[in-house]
């Protein structure tokens, strides 16, 4: 970057081609341009705001490949400043979205500060969800207690998406909530994490659930069973699959058959066997395919 001042002046010019030429070269700029870019990104001129945002993104991409680089650390520091209250909301949002792609664990405390801010909490959780490592999971878990009820499902969803085994007990606790939205978010996160909890989970009473919530609850149970089977906890998985086999709905029977076939033991095969003669052709064909698959694998 030969001339930092010219670069920033070009970003602000009325000529779209000059702005474009500048932001395409932003990868060569030092992180010290970020504060000024943050101000320009709030410009009322949409072309200038775009050029500033694109320059920030280009700068981030230029340091994104490898961790541990000095310029990368400086860019992250600059973005954390842009995420602060001194900047306009759209600029802060953009900063969080860029931090999501390059921030590391050491930035988690700074990023987490705004997790209870109604205007930014969605962006903060998105960002934490994207940062690998234990620190972001701890931050999400720690934020749960003080989160407003309407946002607790979002935090649980992030933990479920991260497959955060550390959060299993939190999910089990959430499943007992009298608030159905929170309880169902706990169920869904628990199913996605797929780890066996210290205490047996208590699922919400199906009679108290809507039709959609029932679908989500059974899906979560099946996801949990699939994960348990993958980990070798066959008995845990078999229990869920056997229950699904008893359901009248064909797709739950199919899911159980597919899961049982993956387990592939004699006991699993015995559970599938009656379904080879199912009146429902979809269930019957699924069982036949599972049977053939197990035979091919010589199980």
């Amino acid at each position: 970057m030969p001339d930092e001042k010219k670069f920033l002046a070009d970003i602000e010019r009325d000529d779209a081609e000059a702005r474009f030429a500048a932001w395409r070269q932003a990868g060569e700029a030092p992180a010290t341009v970020l504060p000024h870019l943050g101000k320009l990104a709030a410009s009322e001129k949409p072309g200038v705001a775009k050029a500033a945002r694109e320059a920030m993104s280009t700068l981030v991409h230029s340091v994104g490949k490898q961790t541990g680089d000095a310029k990368r650390a400086a860019v992250v520091k600059g973005l954390l400043d842009l995420a602060g209250a001194a900047y306009a909301l759209p600029v802060r949002v953009h900063a969080y979205r860029l931090l999501a792609t390059i921030a590391e664990e050491d930035s988690v405390p700074a990023i987490s500060k705004e997790i209870h801010n109604p205007e930014l909490r969605e962006e903060v959780v998105y960002c934490l969800e994207m940062i690998p490592g234990a620190a972001s999971i701890q931050a999400l878990t720690a934020s749960y207690k003080d989160a407003k009820d309407d946002f607790k499902p979002r935090i649980l969803a992030a933990l479920g998406h991260r497959r955060a085994s550390e959060a299993v007990s939190l999910c089990v606790e959430a499943m007992r909530s009298p608030d159905k939205e929170i309880a169902m978010a706990g169920v869904k996160a628990f199913g996605r994490i797929g780890k066996k909890p210290a205490e047996a989970p208590v699922y919400p009473d199906p009679q108290a659930l809507s039709d959609w919530q029932k679908i989500e609850q059974i899906d979560s149970m099946l996801r949990y069973a699939d994960a348990q089977a993958k980990e070798g906890s066959v008995a845990e998985a078999m229990q869920v699959y056997r229950s699904a086999l008893e359901r009248p709905e064909e797709h739950w029977q199919c899911a159980a058959i597919v899961g049982l076939a993956r387990i592939g033991t004699a006991e699993a095969a015995a559970a599938i066997l009656p379904k080879l003669k199912s009146d429902n052709s979809t269930v019957r064909i699924t069982a036949q395919n599972a049977w053939k698959g197990m035979a091919a694998a010589k199980l």
């Binding site: 702005r19 490949k65 490898q66 199919c254 052709s281 979809t282």
Partner: protein, 454 residues
């Protein structure tokens, strides 16, 4: 909501099954309609469709109630040669976040379809056998997965997904619930693609080492101001799992595809057609490139952010071949078309144009060859929608099954990531991760917003 009480495939099967089990079936008075007399197909043969997203493309899948029982040729825009007669089916439930579009679709269908603005209510309906999803790209993954969870077979428009993680989750959901999922890259179901596949796989070009796609550029966009959404659109639902952006009429409905968060430009929109045929012909439906690089230019100004021009070069290994997506690229000298691909073999080359609509074409010598060859080895789809409906009954995998669609979408997504990051990338197609690139790997996933999660 209106809930009409016609006998459906599911209720008919359940009712007759229960009656037969109780020994009462033989003594029931069965209406002629239920046996398929009076010119009506029996309800057990009628597929009850739900339609999610019916404004643009999604409208093409509607089945007017007045057509039930008539011999209606399958539309060629869904693949096929137009000779096939549609299976009996009914559009019994319609859903769109735009109430004007919903009303228009209801009028088109006729009868008394159930109308929804929230697709989850449609999916709860046990009478719906299968769904057509024609919503914007950023909804494809979640709506497909939730449809599988609700026990529906799915025809979802292309491109399959917006992220690699979404695509893999769709594959998992289809497998978990043993659902039929067909993705709407209908070029594979068109006669010209089948003819070209026969020709190339028979070795008539020698070994194909390169496929070059061409396509015109994406639009630059303007600066239309943001505004409040019109009252007919539930914009919160329209954005759904994507990152929030204020409403802008030039970013919704047909224009969403020029935004990376919602669509992804020509490489995703038409790449999912042209590269679908390429992946099929090159037998690459279960793998991906080992490396790629991208060049080109984004919009210099305006509200869009997907590539205007771009050239992405993918290198495949074992077997080694190169795939190039170029907008605008170099058009074929053999056939005149706005987009398509040239297959470069050791002993010649071949053009296959387009890959969507009903106009996929190839060269005359290929048609001549297919007319006389023993072409039994390559599956010939009867038409994309027809293939889907056949598979609903047979439970076989359709021609554009979820794994294949995910692999094609992967090409589009990787191309955009390489373009965005402006550096070559190495890809592990088995583990579906980039090698030695921390930032690129984070772009393989995108957390859902609010209540919308994989």
């Amino acid at each position: 909501m209106d809930t009409y009480k016609k006998d459906t495939r599911r209720t008919f099967l359940a009712r007759t099954g229960a009656a037969a089990a109780g020994g009462a079936f033989l003594f029931d008075i069965v209406p002629a309609r239920a046996l398929g007399l009076q010119g009506q197909p029996p309800p057990s043969d009628i597929i009850n469709f739900g339609h999610i997203g019916i404004g643009g493309r999604g409208r093409r899948f509607l089945r007017p109630e007045a057509d039930l029982g008539k011999r209606v040729p399958a539309p060629t825009n869904l693949g096929g040669d137009g000779t096939r007669i549609l299976r009996p089916a009914r559009s019994m439930a319609l859903c769109d976040v735009d109430s004007q579009r919903l009303d228009q679709a209801a009028t088109l269908v006729g009868g008394t379809p159930k109308l929804y603005k929230d697709f989850r209510r449609l999916l709860e309906d046990k009478d719906v056998d299968a769904v057509y999803i024609g919503s914007p790209d950023h909804w494809h993954a979640l709506q497909t997965i939730l449809s599988c969870q609700a026990g529906k077979d799915v025809y979802v428009e292309k491109p399959a997904c917006n992220t690699i993680e979404e695509g893999r989750a769709m594959v998992t959901a289809a497998e978990r619930y043993a659902r039929v999922v067909q993705v709407g890259s209908q070029g594979r179901s068109q006669p010209a693609a089948w003819e070209a596949a026969n020709f190339i796989r028979a070795g008539r070009l020698g070994r194909v080492r390169k496929v070059t796609c061409w396509h015109y550029a994406s639009p630059e966009g303007d600066w239309t101001p943001d505004s409040d959404p019109p009252p007919e659109i539930d914009y919160e639902m329209w954005v759904g799992p994507a990152r929030w952006l204020p409403y802008n009429k030039r970013r919704t409905h047909g224009s969403f595809r020029w935004m990376i968060d919602f669509g992804g430009g020509q490489i995703r929109d038409r790449g999912a057609h042209v590269m679908s045929i390429a992946n099929w012909i090159m037998d690459a439906d279960h793998t991906g490139p080992a490396s790629l690089r991208a060049t080109g230019e984004p919009p210099h100004d305006g509200m869009y952010d997907s590539a205007v021009t771009m050239e992405v070069t993918y290198e495949f290994k074992n077997p080694d071949w190169t795939l190039v997506w170029a907008q605008p690229g170099t058009p074929s000298t053999e056939l005149d078309a706005r987009y398509g691909a040239v297959y470069w073999g050791d002993t010649g080359n071949l053009t296959v144009t387009l890959g969507d609509g009903d106009r996929t074409s190839t060269e005359q010598r290929v048609k001549d060859y297919s007319a006389q060859c023993d072409c039994g080895k390559v599956f010939r789809s009867p038409g994309h929608s027809e293939n889907f409906e056949d598979c609903i009954r047979s439970r076989e995998k359709p021609i554009m099954h979820m794994e294949a669609a995910h692999r094609v979408a992967t090409l589009c997504i990787l191309g955009n990531i390489a373009f965005q990051l402006r550096r070559p990338l190495e890809w592990d197609p088995v583990n579906e991760r980039f090698m030695n690139d921390a930032e690129a790997n984070r772009l393989l996933s995108r957390p859902g917003r609010g209540p919308w999660h994989l």
